[in-house]
Symmetry: C2
Subunit: 658 residues, 2 copies
Amino acid sequence: MNKLLKKSLLWPLTAVAAIGFLSMGCSSNGEFGSSSDAAEKVYVAPGEHDEFYGFFSGGYNGQLGVYGLPSGRHIFTIPVFSQAAVNGYGYSEETKAMLQTTDGFVPWGDAHHPELSQTDGETDGRWVFINENNTPRIARIGLDEFKTQEIIEIPNSAGNHASSFVTPNTEYVSAATRFSIPMKEDNLENMDVSIDSYKENFKGTISFIKVSDEGKMNIDFQIMMPGFNYDLSHAGKGPSDGWSFFTSYNSEEAHTMLEINASRNDKDYIAAINWKKAAEYAKEGKGKMIPGKHYRNYIDHEEGGIAKSEVIEEVRVLDPRKLEGIVYFLPTPKSPHGVDVDPTGQYIAAGGKLSTVIPVHSFEKMMTAIENKDFEGEDQGIPVLNYDSILHGEVENPGLGPLHTEFDGKGYAYTTAFISSEIVKWDIEKTEVVDRIDVYYSPGHLMIPGGDSRNPDGKYLVALNKITKDRYLPTGPEMFHSAQLIDISGDKMQLLLDFPTEGEPHYAQGITADKVKKRQKRFYEIDENNHPRAAKSEKATRVERDGNEVHVYMTTIRSHFAPDNIEGIKVGDEVYFHVTNLEQDWDVPHGFAMKGANNAELLIMPGETLTLKWEPKKEGVFPFYCTDFCSALHQEMQGYVRVSPENSDTPISYSTGQ
Amino acid sequence: MNKLLKKSLLWPLTAVAAIGFLSMGCSSNGEFGSSSDAAEKVYVAPGEHDEFYGFFSGGYNGQLGVYGLPSGRHIFTIPVFSQAAVNGYGYSEETKAMLQTTDGFVPWGDAHHPELSQTDGETDGRWVFINENNTPRIARIGLDEFKTQEIIEIPNSAGNHASSFVTPNTEYVSAATRFSIPMKEDNLENMDVSIDSYKENFKGTISFIKVSDEGKMNIDFQIMMPGFNYDLSHAGKGPSDGWSFFTSYNSEEAHTMLEINASRNDKDYIAAINWKKAAEYAKEGKGKMIPGKHYRNYIDHEEGGIAKSEVIEEVRVLDPRKLEGIVYFLPTPKSPHGVDVDPTGQYIAAGGKLSTVIPVHSFEKMMTAIENKDFEGEDQGIPVLNYDSILHGEVENPGLGPLHTEFDGKGYAYTTAFISSEIVKWDIEKTEVVDRIDVYYSPGHLMIPGGDSRNPDGKYLVALNKITKDRYLPTGPEMFHSAQLIDISGDKMQLLLDFPTEGEPHYAQGITADKVKKRQKRFYEIDENNHPRAAKSEKATRVERDGNEVHVYMTTIRSHFAPDNIEGIKVGDEVYFHVTNLEQDWDVPHGFAMKGANNAELLIMPGETLTLKWEPKKEGVFPFYCTDFCSALHQEMQGYVRVSPENSDTPISYSTGQ
C-alpha cells in the first residue's frame, strides 16, 4: 500500500517533468528496528514529562501548536493570528485589538515559521516569533505565559513568507515579501497599475525589525529589492554573524503561470544581506523615511493585560543601489526554497526545489569574492557573485525536490526531499550523502531541536510531511497533517513514530524542556491585577449603568459567581461583563458563557480579568454559567440576567445570594 | 508531587464539607506494571492504524475531536458549533448558515456529549450527534465525510446539557433544559419576570427530536417539566427500550447560590420518560402546538453542499400532568449528575455527585412499582416512586463525588469519582466494588468504546480528567485537559497512558475502527459537483460583473489557479471567489487566501467548490495564493487582482497565462 501510494505522488509536474531529473534509486535503509525498541523510545509514562518542547506552526490555522517530544503529544495551542473560540481570543474585549491591521479586523492568518529567541546563537527560551503570510505580520509569544504578547504588521509587503528569522542575539527578526507588488521608489504605497507592467513597477522589500530587551518590536529599516519572490531566510552566526541570507525565486519576474514561467532560469539567487552595515546606515539616517502605515498590537501589562494598538505611519527604506555593500546576490540553482546556515556559520546550504544537487556556499569564499569584487555582473544594480568562486561543494544524489536542511552539531546536515519522500543525511565538509530514510509522505521542513542554532541537540529529527493519506485512521476527505519522529543519535537514522499535527505545520522549532520550564507562570497574582475594571474581591462586585452601557464587575470562585442574579437590564443595552477569577492556585480557570452572546465565551485564568460584551435583543431571563468543570459543584455555578423592554424603568439590582 | 497535588484538590467545598463525607482510604492498586508492557500496548507503529476511533467533545471549543486509541493520537477536529479558521468553517459563504440561530449568528458553542448513532442498541458508525449548551442545539455529523451535516436549535430551553442521547435505533435524539426559565404553559416564550418568582414561573422542557433514515432532525415533541435543573440522560435498551432517563438536581428550585441552596435535599430525581407512549400521544395530536421558533441548518447536498437555514415557528408540547404515564420521578441521592443504563437494560445507575453511594435502580422493579401505583407521593403533578421499591442496590465505598458510569459487557461497571480522583470498578449484580485505580486528576466522564450500548468493547477505558496541572510539560496558566487510557481487559485495571485533549472534553464515545473505515469518502467526484457557481473545468472559468457584485469562477489544480490575473475590480465591489478544486485524488486539497479579506481562507477538498467574499477597500494589486503545500511548485501557485478606484471604467479582464 505504501509503495503504491508513494508512486502515485510522482504526479505530473509540468515544470519538473520538463527539467528531466536524473533517475535515482531510492535505497531505503532506515527501516525501524524492532518495534519494541521504538515503542520504548517514544513512550513517556504517566506522570513523566517529555524531554523537548516542539513549537509547530499551525499553517492555515494561524496558531502555534506545542508538542512534547519524543511522545509526539500535542500539549497546547497558542492562539496567535486567528480567532480562537476555545478561550475567546480575538472575541473578548481584551484581545480584539491583537487582530487589528491596516486591512481592518482580520480574524485569520497563515502562520509558517516559528523561531525561538536566541542569545549568543543558542535558543534561550524567552520567546517564539512567528510570521503571518497573508496580511504580513510577525508575532512574539512569551514562553512565561504561552501567550501572544505582540503582533507587528509589515507594510510595503505582500505574502510575508521569508519570516520570522532571528539574528544570533535576537537583535532583529527579519521578513521579506514573497509577492512583489507595484511600488514607487519614494512611496511604497501599492499602486493601481496593470499586472503586465510587472517588470517595470513591481518591487520587493526585506524588513529588519528591531527587538528590544523587553521584546518590543519596531521596524528599523526596509531594503528595497528587485521584484522577485523572496522565499525563506536564515541569519548567519559565528563568522557570518552580521549577515542574513534570503532565497529568491522568480528572478524571471514572471507575473502569470509561475509554475512554468518562474522555472525557466537555471539559477535564481540567495540575497546575502549585511544587516550590521545596513543598521549602521539606518542609524546614520541614511535612506528615506517614507509612508508605510502599520499596526503594532501589544498586550499592555501596565493596564490589566488589555491589548492595545499603536499605528505607525512611516518606515525607513534603504536603497541597496545607493548604499554600497549591503546586498549581494549568490547565484543558486534552481528556484531555491530553504536556505540554512550550519552551526559553525561557515556553510550556507540551499534547497533548490528543482535542483539535482544541494549547493553549499562558503561564507569565507563569499567574503573573499566580495573583497575581490569577483562579480559575474549585476542584476538591477545588485552585484552578482560568481557561483564557482563561492561554492563549498554540491551534494549529489540528494533526492528529488530538496527543500530544507537542519544540522545535528556533529558535522552532519539533514535535507528533506519533497518529491522522493525522504530525508537525506550528508557530511557537511565532504558534501557527501551518508544515509537516507523514507518518510511518508512529501516532507516540507524538518526540525532538529536547536537545529538551526549554534548548538543543536542532535538526538531527534522531526519530518514535517505535507501529505498524509493512509497514515492514520481515515477522516473523510480532509485530514490532519503528519509528522514523523526519527532517532538520529546513531549512524543510521531510525524511524520511531508517526504523529498527527494540527493545521498545516510548515516549520517547527524544538528546545530542551528545562530552558522553558523554569520560566513558567502558573497563575496571575490577584494583588498585581491592574485591570481597570477588575473586582478584586466579592465586596467590590457591582453593576453600574452609564446611559445604555452597563458594566458588571463580577467575580468567580468555586463554585459561584458574584453577583449571580442581575435585573434592570434593557433591550438595547450594551452590557459588559468584566469577570475576575479570584482563584489563586494552578489550573483553576473559570469560564463565562452568556446565552445570546454573539461572540465566544471567556476562559479566565486565576487572578485574571476578561470582558464579554453582550447586547440583549429579547426580553426574558437568560442564564450564564461557568464553562470549565471547576469543582464537584461546577454544575451549580450559574446565574441569571433579567432583560426588560427598552422603555422599562426597572432599576439595576443584583444579588449574590448570600 | 502527585500525592501532594492530589491532597490540594480536596479544596474547601462549602456544600461538600457541610455534608460530612465518610472518611475513606483510597487504596491505589492500579499501578502500571512494567513500563515496557504499557509502552508496547499503546504503541502504534508507523504505517499501522489504531484499533478504535474516539470522538471527544471539545467542550468550550465547540468542536468534536477525533482520537485514535490506544495511541491517544489526536487525528482530526471536526468543526461543529464554532468558527474554525483552519478551513474557513463559519467564515466561508457555504458554511455561514450553519451557525445561524434565533439569537443571530453565534460563532461559538459549548459542546458536551457526543453520541454515536445506534442500530439495535449497537453503534453503527453512521453519525455522531453532539449537543451545544449555551445556545441550545444538537448537531449531526456524518462519518462518511467527517463533517457537520445538520444543526437543529432547541426552543424553550436554556443550557442544553442533558443531550444528545439516542434511542436504540436512533429513532430519537433527546435534549433537556439545564436551566429552567420563565415560561407560561400555553406559550413557552421566555418572559420578563422577577428572578425571585422562580418557583412560580420557571419551567423546564425535555425535547425528543425525531431522526429520519437520512438523518434529518425535527422536534417531534417537548414535555413540559417542573423548574428543576436537568443534567444528563440515557435511553433504556432491551427490556427498558422505550424509556429514557434524565437526572435532575435543584429540585429545591433555588435561583441563587446554587452550590449551597440546590444541595439541601437528600434526594433529587431521575425522571423516567416513556418516550414511546409520549410519541404515540404526539402522533394522536395530543398536547398543543405552541410558539417555539428555531433554526434547522443543514448542508444541502442537492445544491453543492451549501448550508441552508430553515426556520420552524412552532413545536408540540405535552403536559405530563394531563397525559398519564409518560413521566415518573425516581428519587435518587443526591444532586445526581450522570445516569447510565447497563448493557442488559435492567439497571439504571446514578452518579449522585454529593452522594456516599452509587444508587442502582432496577427497571423491572420500576415497572412493577408503576403498575402497583407504589408512589410515595407526587411533585408538581408527577408521580414519585418509592426509592426502596425500585432499588436494585447501593454500591458502597464508591469514592468521593461519583459522577459517571460505563460498562464493559462482562458484568462490570466503572464509575468516576471526581473528588477522590479514581475509577471504581464494581459488580453490577452484587453492587460491590471489586477494583479501583487512581487517575490524575478529577475525572468527569469516562468512556469505554460502546460502553453505553448493548454491546461494549470492554478492552480499554478512557478517564476524561478535568484537572491537568503537572501531567505534561507546563504551558503557562492555561493548559490542555488530560485523558488517561486504562487497560480493563484483565481483573485489575492497568494505567497505560496519559494523553492531552483539546478544548474541554466532557464525554467521548469510541467505536471499532472498521465500522467507520468502510464508509469513508476520500474526495468528491467532480462530475457530481452540483454547486451552482462551480467551474468544472478550466474552460469554464470566468469573471462576471453584476452591478457591484463580481463573481470569479475559479479553478485550482497543481500548481496554478485559473484565472491567475484579474483586472477591473473596483473599490466598493463585493467580490465572490467561487473556487473549485479540480483534483480527483485523495488528500490533494488546495487553499485560497486573498490579501485584505476580513474572513478566513478557504480549504477546498478535491471536487469541491467553496466561496470567499472579499470587499477591497484600497487601490493596488493584491496577491492571492494557495495555502496548502500541494506540490513541489506550490510556492508558484499564486495570482494577482488589480483594484482600481471606484469611479474607474477599467473593464473586467482576466487571464490564465496560457
